[in-house]
């Protein structure tokens, strides 16, 4: 394949959705949904092209404006970024299919829901832009684009609870991104460059860099909603409309997680300390326990799913203590690749499972009229497909084989034992038990015979199918781990990623 052409792909994955957003916005409201789906389709095509280019030719760099770092901004795609771009594409496409009938129904009720498509495509572009950007300041701009689009989507319904949650989300996001930017200012002052690659070559563990790194990570932790900085998440994610909740929970929090991972491993590895890794692990553990416990206590389904996100995000942060202890002392320690792949797999599996869960709950809400856990009795007979989707997603969240969640948790568990950091293992297991608790509680309700027959509103078939497909994908990525790992291996910091992936196969 032509190498020159390949370098265009990173730019295309950003340009395509953003062009879509502008075109869709300019169209009259009634045509927007019709134009939105093709735009989503093109974006997916661009993402697939990018992944294909990365697999066949290795990491790809696009120098925007033709200047190149350090003066210009580069887009850089390697295995890690392509995996996240692909996940966004897959989830994004299915959510788009779900959103079309959803907003066709909601559109009659007014509000600003006609703005869903431009906002969502803009958000998609900013996610891709964030996964690909190789410039610290440009990352700030994409984070802000992402934050504004996400909050705008969260308040789309215009209802007061959503507005309050949205404002809290916005202010938390602004505080977080300003902390990040303060870090960027210090880094630029110290090393006079913004390109991730050049920064990583230039940094030393000087006090300014350590403080800068701390600020950047702290800011991003707020945006990722890691315990105890998750205060904004449950309300914001649960008060949004179903497709938006899915996007926020499955994708948006992953973007800041990706950035933490990137900075931690690729850029500021000299500033990373074992204690910092353990601290993130402790926060992650607290999130696993607290989030899952809170989810168990919720009576409203959407709040339950949102709290479950807090818990599942916690798992992803168990990756940091595991890769940090051996990374500097023994770069070839066998558990590094396990932990690395496990953490990323957790992000992927949670993305699919959580999107599926929010969409399924959205179907219930549409059918029953509210999201009280007790009002979904006997739905297994009435909405079997959606109940099945919820069950599949739940299996992955718990981490039962052969799901993607199982691969993730299994690899993390293996890494905890082989690295000697056994103290994370009880956290992983307790989290799984708590998760099993709330998943089975919902399923039990769905299987229980209803007290009196209730009138169900009709739900478009597409909505049920997309929820099921997402749930099925959450299981499937557990069965077909190698394909994902081949991509992830391009430019990976830990060599044995592929081998480890095979070891993690059930």
């Amino acid at each position: 394949m032509n190498g020159e052409l390949t370098t265009l792909f990173p730019a295309l994955t950003v340009i395509t959705p953003i062009t879509g957003a502008v075109v869709v916005f300019l169209l009259p409201a009634r045509l927007r949904a019709r134009a939105g789906l093709p735009a989503a389709g093109f974006t997916v095509a661009a993402a697939i092209l990018l992944a294909w280019g990365v697999v066949t030719e290795g990491a790809v760099r696009h120098e925007l404006g033709g200047w190149g770092a350090p003066l210009g901004i580069d887009l850089h795609a390697d295995g890690l970024s392509s995996v996240f771009v692909l996940m966004t594409a897959a989830i994004g496409l299915l959510v788009s299919f779900y959103a079309k009938p959803f907003f066709a129904l909601a559109g009659e009720k007014g509000g600003a829901s006609e703005l869903f498509w431009p906002l969502w495509l803009f958000l998609w572009a900013s996610l891709n832009g964030l996964f690909l950007s190789s410039d610290l300041f440009n990352l700030y701009v994409t984070i802000e684009v992402m934050g504004l689009a996400a909050v705008a989507l969260a308040v789309l319904s215009g209802r007061p609870p959503a507005l309050v949650a949205g404002l809290r989300y916005l202010l938390a996001a602004l505080g977080g991104s300003m902390a990040y930017l303060m870090g960027v200012a210090l880094v630029y002052g110290e090393v006079s460059t913004l390109d991730l690659g050049l920064v990583s070559e230039a940094v030393e563990g000087s006090p300014a860099i350590r403080v800068a790194f701390g600020l950047m990570i702290a800011g991003l932790l707020v945006k990722t909603a890691v315990f105890p900085l998750h205060f904004w998440l449950p309300a914001a994610h649960s008060s949004a409309q179903a497709p938006v909740s899915a996007i926020l929970s499955a994708l948006v929090v992953k973007a800041s997680f990706y950035l933490i991972l990137r900075l931690w491993v690729d850029v500021f590895d000299v500033a990373v300390t074992v204690a910092a890794g353990q601290a993130l692990g402790v926060l992650g553990s607290a999130a696993v326990i607290w989030g899952s416990y809170q989810a168990l206590r919720q009576r409203r389904l959407k709040l339950m799913v949102a709290h479950s996100t807090v818990g599942q995000i916690g798992y992803m942060f168990l990756l940091f203590p595991l890769i940090t202890i051996g990374y500097r002392e023994a770069a070839d320690a066998p558990w590094l690749a396990h932990a690395w792949t496990g953490g990323i797999y957790q992000a992927l599996a949670h993305g699919f499972a959580k999107a599926s869960m929010f969409l399924a709950v959205g179907v219930f809400v549409l059918a029953v009229g509210n999201d009280d856990r007790r009002s979904i009795g006997d739905l297994v007979a009435r909405l079997p497909m959606t109940t099945f989707a919820l069950a599949l997603a739940g299996i992955s969240l718990i981490g039962l084989p052969p799901s993607g969640g199982f691969v993730a948790k299994w690899m993390l568990l293996k890494a905890t034992f082989s690295s000697g950091q056994w103290w994370w293992a009880p956290v992983i297991l307790t989290g799984s038990f708590l998760t099993a608790g709330y998943v089975f509680m919902v399923l039990r309700q769905a299987f229980a015979p209803a007290g009196k027959p209730i009138e169900l509103n009709p739900v478009p078939r597409t909505m049920e199918v997309t929820a099921l497909l997402l749930g099925a994908t959450a299981i499937l990525i557990g069965l077909r781990a190698e394909e994902v790992l081949i991509l992830l291996d391009v430019g990976a910091p830990f060599d044995e990623a592929v081998e480890a992936g095979e070891g993690g196969e059930p």
Binding site: E4, L8, A11, I15, I18, T19, V22, F25, L26, H62, E63, L64, G65, G66, W67, P70, L71, G72, I73, A106, K109, G110, G111, A112, E114, L115, L119, F122, G129, F137, N138, V141, T142, E144, V145, L148, A152, L153, V155, S157, G158, R159, L163, L186, Y188, G189, E190, S192, T193, S206, P207, A208, V211, A212, Q241, A242, V365, L366, G369, N370
Partner: protein, 345 residues
């Protein structure tokens, strides 16, 4: 470094700290807003002292000017009782909308939280200051920028960075403005600019002044736009002046939004971003990178992009104000055809 200048800098910095403190701690929202605007003006002075005239212009126009107008306009809303379905307790005492201090102190343990947070902030300040004074000599990208200035199509280094070297950031930033307007639409629950309440006339003298000033504002905007090529100035400053002209005209009672069709609003909001995008994509066709301008045409393309961006920025800034001030962020005042949503999702 002469001691008088040092004294001046120190004094200015102290002033900034005091103003920021006052803005955060003032009892009335009104005082808060005034202190904040004064803080913004103080910052403009600081930018000048730091040899950053471009930033001073941007801060004065956008930071202190536009945001100041929006803040003052919001005070009007917060200082009177809510008009919606407010079943909540109504705070009817005008001018005393700030009840937070009172509410906080009622909580047991709120005092402890406050102390703890203050201590944490002081600790953070200490850490930051230690880190900052230890920053080395750097070097920046001044030399790289100077070296590539030739091929950028403009002579002013800041404009070269904004529109060419880091044009991608600037493009996204114009996108952020557009996005913020979409967000405001979402918060308001309704799309468009027409309708809503028209402002009262501010009296003959002010109307007369505004009418006289508007052509001057537009002229200055054009001048700044043109100047950006070789001196401080450019699309953002020009755009905000255009926006300011619109805001003033609206305040003078001109029904500017009455004639705007939805299509024109959409066009106004996307013009700058779209033009950027079109030229960026056009650069791909001869095999270049996104937003790579051919050296020969770079100056012209940049001027064109900047003009479109300035118009769009001006329009968006005007839209922020026109939308908010005419309907106080509540959809219930107009457009009965689209009632406040009661989506049960």
């Amino acid at each position: 470094m002469n001691p008088l200048e040092h004294a001046l800098d120190t004094l200015l910095c102290l002033l900034l700290l005091v103003l920021a403190w006052k803005a955060l701690r003032a009892e009335h929202l009104y005082q808060s807003a005034i202190f904040f605007i004064a803080f913004g003006l103080g910052m403009a002075l600081a930018w000048v002292r730091l040899a950053a005239p471009d930033v001073a212009l941007a801060e004065a126009a956008i930071g202190a000017g536009l945001l100041g107008v929006l803040l003052l306009d919001s005070l009007r809303v917060f200082s009177r009782p809510p008009n919606g379905s407010g079943k909540a307790r109504q705070n009817t005492d005008p001018g005393d909308a700030e009840t937070a201090t009172a509410t906080t102190s009622r909580h047991p343990g709120a005092r402890a939280t406050r102390l703890l947070a203050t201590a944490a902030a002081a600790g953070l300040a200490a850490v930051l200051v230690t880190a900052i004074v230890r920053i080395g000599d750097g070097g920046g990208l001044t030399e790289e920028a100077a070296g590539q200035l030739e091929g950028s199509g403009v002579e002013h280094p800041v404009t070269a960075v904004l529109l060419n070297f880091r044009g991608y950031d600037t493009w996204l930033e114009v996108g952020v403005l557009f996005l913020a307007m979409l967000g405001i639409y979402c918060a308001g629950g309704w799309v468009g600019l027409t309708g809503g309440r028209e402002p009262d006339s501010p009296g003959p003298l002010l109307s007369w002044l505004i009418r006289g000033l508007t052509p001057l504002l537009i002229l200055t905007a054009a001048y700044l736009l043109w100047l950006g090529k070789e001196a401080p100035g450019g699309a953002f400053q020009a755009g905000v002046l255009i926006g300011a002209a619109g805001i003033l005209l609206r305040l003078a009672g001109y029904p500017l939004t009455a004639h705007l069709s939805p299509g024109m609003v959409k066009l106004g909001l996307t013009l700058g971003f779209g033009t950027f995008l079109v030229f960026g994509i056009a650069a791909l066709i001869p095999g270049g990178a996104f937003l790579e301008y051919p050296e020969y045409w770079a100056g012209e393309i940049i001027l064109l992009v900047e003009t479109a961006a300035a118009i769009s920025i001006g329009f968006t800034v005007f839209a922020f104000f026109a939308y908010l001030s005419s309907r106080d962020g509540s959809p219930s005042e107009e457009h009965n055809s689209k009632p406040s949503t009661t989506n049960s999702d």
